[in-house]
Subunit: 505 residues, 2 copies
């Protein structure tokens, strides 16, 4: 065994331990959102803080630094895209980030975001921003401290946080790509509005019994390729997907008897994330080669299954009769074309996760514009509801009636996930670009969907994206897979192809 091989094995063992420990925290977080008794929150916060502290200690153990330095100095790690080189590159990045964070800050953040999420659940339920404000202030202060500790270029502390979720991205680049997208989206939204066409969306708020929603959503998630022997679907206030580890990936959704799309497309969305997690290389578990690229790439998978598959006409050619059988009262007298038009209705609405494909990205841009000043200090948390409503009115021409439908709607900030939102819009762009290539390479994808066959697309994603782990950073992965750098054009092409037809533009 060469010296390099020995050092590398030791490094891998260290990394796997840290991942395994973090996966324990993940399960505790999942439980916190799903089944934790009301008065167990304080104890859960203590557990998570302790685990975060130990994981941080292990992730920053000087031995990892030594191993990395020796491996880097040895220089015989082969091709830059080899598993060995990739694991060393990403381990270095993680180690540098982690060692810059004091343990006290890690533990304190873990503790605060655990309690703060509980506070958010109540605040959202009662639409009471005041009870959440002290927690938001704590979270923002901690995230600012984190940005300072990590460091950033261009004088933009927000970039230090963004980089956590989308390695290598900067707010300047995102602003540039958002700006191109924004203009074309606003134009499309206006054209749709002026078309005068409005599908009858009241059919989606008829009575859809929750048990039937669960049955139908689960069956569809299984059919598109989510493996329930290696995962579950539960109910939470805010839907999410958590890849706890090999063989254990957990999706959540929320049901509303009088809103079919919420849970259904939510389930498709989370199943898309889940299919990514289940498609990672289990043999590389615990190392960067066994991990997802970035949140943007993750989101590209969920949005692809949710929108490019789940809201497509061929998909419903296959599933509509089953949907009618599951919801005879709601859909018995509705034709598939009316249903397809309704689930693709485009109009301004308050809730991001229920927004249509076209306006969705505007919701993201609004949040991106508020996050940066929250972190720079130019926006005080106390002013958030007012600024949110102002910006919202500017973007959407409607004003949220309360904070539950405004700035309290998302769990992210309560969970310390600042810098996370822009990855959603990046995900939409990645999704369309990947999907265009998949269609080119696989040919008859829509016809497959019409027959209820999704294995071809899933395998393509497995080999082109999932199994590669963190081999390439997001921007390079896009180039490797699609042959082109990231562009907003495939997204706009998809939107025009679909909505020009639906709205006769």
């Amino acid at each position: 065994m060469t010296t390099t091989a020995k050092l590398y094995d030791e490094l891998i063992e260290q990394l796997q331990k840290v991942t395994l420990l973090k996966s324990c925290s993940e399960l505790l977080c999942w439980d916190e959102q799903t089944y934790l008794p009301a008065e167990g929150a304080e104890h859960r916060a203590s557990q998570l803080s302790l685990l975060a502290g130990i994981a941080h200690e292990q992730a920053t153990t000087p031995r990892i630094g030594e191993l990395l330095s020796e491996l880097e100095a040895a220089g015989d790690t082969g091709d830059v895209d080899s598993p060995l080189a990739v694991n060393i590159r990403e381990a270095r990045r993680n180690y540098n980030r982690a060692t810059r964070l004091p343990k006290r800050l890690v533990e304190e953040t873990s503790r605060v975001i655990s309690l703060s999420q509980q506070a958010w659940v109540s605040a959202r339920k009662e639409s009471n921003f005041a009870t959440f404000l002290p927690w938001l202030e704590k979270v923002v202060a901690l995230k600012r401290e984190e940005a300072e500790a990590i460091g950033y270029g261009d004088g933009i502390p927000y970039d230090a946080l963004l980089d956590e979720y989308e390695p290598g991205a900067s707010s300047a680049e995102i602003e540039a790509s958002f700006s191109a997208l924004r203009d074309e989206l606003v134009e499309l939204v206006a054209a749709i509005r002026e078309s005068g066409k409005q599908p009858d969306i009241s059919i989606l708020t008829r009575s859809y019994p929750i048990e039937a929603q669960r049955t139908f959503g689960t069956a569809v998630a299984r059919q598109i390729g989510f493996d329930f022997n290696k995962g579950r679907l539960d109910v939470t206030a805010h839907p999410f997907c958590m890849g706890v580890g090999p063989g254990d990936c957990r999706l959540t959704t929320r049901y509303d008897e009088h809103h079919f799309p919420g849970a259904f497309f939510g389930t498709m969305h989370e199943a898309g994330h889940g299919i990514y997690e289940q498609g990672l290389n289990p043999g590389a578990y615990g190392t960067p080669m066994g991990e997802s690229v970035s949140l943007g790439i993750h989101e590209s998978q969920s949005r692809m299954w949710e929108n490019l598959v789940g809201r497509s006409r061929p998909f419903w050619s296959c599933f509509y009769s089953t949907a009618q059988k599951n919801f005879p009262e709601a859909l018995g007298d509705v034709g598939v074309e009316d249903f397809y038009a309704a689930i693709n209705d485009v109009r301004s609405s308050f809730i991001r996760v229920e927004a249509d494909e076209v306006t969705y990205n505007l919701h993201i841009m609004l949040r991106f514009e508020l996050e940066k000043p929250l972190i720079s200090g130019d926006l005080s948390p106390a002013d958030l509801p007012e600024i949110w409503n102002e910006s919202f009115t500017k973007y959407f021409d409607i004003t949220p009636p309360n904070d539950s439908q405004g700035c309290l709607q998302d769990i992210h900030w309560s969970a310390g996930l600042i810098g996370y939102f822009p990855t959603y819009a990046l995900g939409n762009m990645y999704a369309s670009q990947f999907f265009a290539t998949a269609r080119e390479e696989l040919g008859d994808l829509p016809e497959c969907f019409g027959r209820g066959e999704f294995a071809e697309l899933k395998s393509w994603l497995n080999s082109n994206i999932h199994m590669r782990g963190k081999q390439f950073r997001a921007h390079r992965l896009v180039e490797v897979v699609t042959g082109e750098p990231l562009s907003h054009e495939p997204l706009m092409q998809h939107l025009h192809a679909k909505y020009d037809a639906l709205y006769g533009l």
Copy 2:
């Protein structure tokens, strides 16, 4: 601050960390039994093994040994029953036990019992002992190694394991008290058989819709004092209670539409454990003063609520009409006396957890007799089904038709819980002795139950037992609370008072 106070504070901090870390493992174990996807077992085993290793490292850190030695040498810990003296005494016991176990053995045991429990679930379902045997062999080998590492007196390795669950107990003492109890039980069982009376137990296997069982069981658990803001009730193959930490106590049960007593008395039983956990002093969490005394004392609480309360005549004076409302088809035409007789039917049966109060202890004695030779090596795991069935036939005069109803019925051995069973019979003895004292001190307990009032008994248990934590070892607690050493007489008095009347003896 005195030197002792400073050392003591540091010790407490160390102990709390270990408890908190173990509570993370507990949540993972709970999830493993309730919601873990089938293929997540391997990863869960790795998680639990890692946490067990870290907890063991922390529990055996030499600093704890130093702190204990300095505190013991200082000698100013006050009264032997003071919180300070108790915490030091019990911390010393735990430290000595823990430091005798090599980390490798702890990790390996954690890993094996996690996988072995999964194997047991399948083996029990298919009544296939052969698939469980290799796991049982691994578990027994590890537990023998554990006994050797811990050490034992009297040449009985089993005692080293027993002491884990019932500190200070020995198999010789247990044998003595079982032997006195056995003779009187066998006599009572014979008298009941000879009475010729047999209640109509077919009413208990009519159709009891599971949703109604859940509603009724939950309502009763709440009314006797289990706080659902600080706990939950879920479904598992083998029911248990897990006190994860302050504000988070989890009960489980299993429902069978055609067997009312299983889930109902199972829920009462686990709620009894839960009331103990919820009654511990949260201010002492993480230290011995905030922990339960022993498994025997824990079982005294569950058996008290299950049998002395839940199977009593006054209890059903209060709840029978509600039961009839919940199960109109099954109980509409059944009078309360017939129901009371049916739930107190005494006869030989295969499943311990469904056994009546009288024969139950014989199930325990059988297991106790098999565990000792399993650990000494006189009984090979492969021979277990045969010996089980032989002993069972000797004790009960019936032979299990398969291993699911025989040696595969309990989770314990798969979970490495060898030495645990005798605490169940001890629990029955403690329960009767405590309850007799409670009745003397509180006067009108049965009248309270008849009115659906349980707060008096619960408060009495809270202050006499729960809030005391580990202040006294089990045998001393019994003396302090009841004024007498442990005896099997209160149990036999209770059984005679009840069954002599029911069977006209």
